[in-house]
Symmetry: C2
């Protein structure tokens, strides 16, 4: 099944307790598509960069089978830039700098060859741009997964709510679920979100795992306990990419498939945080992914038979 | 198998965002033994109260089959009292008042009828008192589980370390694991704790579940996502009581049994927080426990077969 990923392709400068980077390649769509490419071979990307974006970044994507026909390169303009510093506990961060650059006028163009899209990942981006992508597809995809963040709740809530009402799966973190609904209890927050439109809600809790809600059903996937979290940047996007990549590769949108997809997404995210930026994803092998998923099986496996 | 629980029997006064209580019955040994009684029928308690402790408190324990021959009642003295206020998120609390009273001179006496003890729960208490209980048993129990808290790391670290070296299972929370070892990563912290003596370590993460470490093995049990956490007091003790109660009832100390025991402990703790103090535990039925454990099975169940 064809998978389309839209979101940012960016430069990031990251500081963690373990060190800092100069401008390195990042962005929601970069992380998500790299992650999805471990499952789904036919993949299309829609995004925008400036003329300062290096060819090696595009080569990296193409090398993983990601079609970049929908990646606009704006001459005379600069790529979106984000800079942030993580706190000691790695669960919170300060944004040091945001330069929208090409993103401020981004008008997504869907190449004709992308119109067979069955699975759509709307990575974190202005809700109005996520909307225009959905509108520019001649046929609604079978499954639309949307990621967003607290910033859009503050500056574009009406657009965001409209967008949320149109997707099948929403992925947000625990703080965002609380902010979006005004409910502290994640169970109550989930019920409210599911009444806004999505059939499925994933609440990402970082090192504390992820919850999948669907009707009255709940599934919990832990995060893998790691020796060291080196750089959490892109972990949520990597999770989402693994999630939808797995579903697309199986062409299955059942609840049981979603549960497995949450485990695959969690496994991918556990790799992402092991090194700075995309370093770990670039060297990752499919055998390592299988091995890590097996660790998740062992981490959660118990046998209780009630009489 | 005979199970002995030692710890505090206390009065608590609790404030949460949902309300406040006058002096109600609490204490680590009370919560742990009440919880364990759902699994293990032959149960003995060692603790101390003052003459102000009501007969109905003792009746409550006896009604659940808990032998209180080892519960000293000190005439002319007052029961240990703790008062605390929970913050909005229920994950942190301030101690408002602590009156040691009878606890300051507590010298545990083990009735002769308790000497068949095979499973020993050392509830949170001064490490030196935990030690004297272990020394006063004529035979080392088959399994010794110890719970403790950050306070003893601050005022009695040498005693605490000696005590830790003598137990089979240590249960502490994530902040305590970090404080005890100086390691932020729970994987690294666990490795250090396991090198101090215990064969098993349980790190309790409250609403984020619990981790069981044994050698290079890790098992994770989620907390049940709840509509509302009403009062977290005693949840850790209730967890520990369910854990050892299950193991004692099965007479099994294998890693597989421990994994199941962590699920049973988590299920018991999920009830404890639903009402103030011991209210929920008093009305709980065994059928409800089974039903809740089934919810844990469904919460974590997924099927991945790697080729």
């Amino acid at each position: 099944m064809s998978l389309l990923v839209i979101g940012t392709v960016a430069f990031d400068a990251i500081e963690t307790p373990f060190g800092k980077t100069d401008k390195i390649i990042g962005g929601a769509a970069t992380y998500a598509s790299m992650s999805a490419s471990f499952f789904q071979k036919k993949m299309n990307l829609v995004s925008v960069v400036g003329e300062d974006f290096p060819q090696e970044g595009i080569d990296m994507l193409n090398h993983r089978g990601i079609n970049t026909a929908g990646l606009q390169i704006k001459q005379g303009e600069k790529t979106f830039f984000w800079s942030g510093r993580y706190h000691e506990d790695m669960n919170s961060r300060d944004t040091l700098d945001t330069q929208l650059n090409v993103l401020s006028t981004f008008d997504p163009v869907i190449p004709e060859s992308y119109q067979d899209c069955e699975f759509l990942m709307l990575g974190n981006l202005m809700p109005s741009i996520q909307m225009s992508v959905l509108q520019r597809l001649s046929r609604r995809p079978k499954l639309v997964v949307m990621d967003t963040m607290n910033f859009w709740m503050e500056v574009a809530m009406p657009d965001l709510l409209q967008m949320i009402s149109m997707v099948d799966v929403l992925t947000i973190n625990d703080a965002e679920a609380r902010q979006l609904t005004g409910e502290y209890s994640l169970v109550k927050a989930a019920r409210k979100v599911l009444s806004m439109g999505p059939r499925y809600l994933i609440i990402k809790k970082g090192e504390h795992g992820a919850l999948l809600f669907h009707g009255e059903n709940v599934f919990f996937a832990p995060a893998l306990p790691l020796e060291e979290v080196f750089d959490p940047t892109g972990a949520g996007d990597t999770f989402a990419g693994g999630f939808i990549g797995y579903l697309a590769s199986m062409n299955d949108t059942s609840f049981d498939a979603m549960k497995r997809a949450v485990i695959y997404g969690s496994a991918m995210a556990s790799f992402c945080v092991e090194k700075f930026g995309l370093e770990r994803m670039k060297e990752l092998t499919e055998a390592q992914v299988d091995q890590r998923v097996q660790q998740f099986v062992e981490l959660t496996d118990f046998e209780i038979t009630l009489v």
